[in-house]
Amino acid sequence: DQQVKQNSPSLSVQEGRISILNCDYTNSMFDYFLWYKKYPAEGPTFLISISSIKDKNEDGRFTVFLNKSAKHLSLHIVPSQPGDSAVYFCAATKGGGTSYGKLTFGQGTILTVHP
């Protein structure tokens, strides 16, 4: 039962253009969402997050949008750079002390940015 889904296994984009990575979730109890980036032979690194009380969060070239009614979030990278080529994971969690920060991850999307 995949509660967090990234339905596009891969995405190819030209340098300078926008990259849009999508993520859907099924559990309405999730109230905090994160994006991680992973390079080969390295562990994932935190990129950006959003609380369910917001619908947008921006950090430099990265913006995350949350549509709670559709249970959908997206990560926009503008402009895309070759160094952004990596696997991107979407993750979600329920708030509250007993969650202990447990994250549920999606399957990942491989982003390739061509020079």
């Binding site: 905090y32 991680y36 562990g43 993750a91 969690t93 202990y100 447990k102 549920t104 991850f105």
Partner: protein, 115 residues
Amino acid sequence: DVKVTQSSRYLVKRTGEKVFLECVQDMDHENMFWYRQDPGLGLRLIYFSYDVKMKEKGDIPEGYSVSREKKERFSLILESASTNQTSMYLCASSWSGRARLYEQYFGPGTRLTVT
């Protein structure tokens, strides 16, 4: 900088062997996690720990156990390795403070092959 280290980058074991994967973090994090990453399945949580000697099952605990005797160290144990446990294993840690609960810091991963 937060550092999460894992004892081995690559490991090859035989079916039936007992396997220990070690993880150490240097930021006094309360929470520690073990995941496995498989193509098309993303990161799946095996076990996590929110305090010394405390452990909770994740989504796929079968065939694994864990140990947390010291705050900085979290071990994953494969009691009798099987070929379907061939995978990339990732350790992560996070704080327990409300404002920073959800951001997890990952180690570089251990690529385990069971033959």
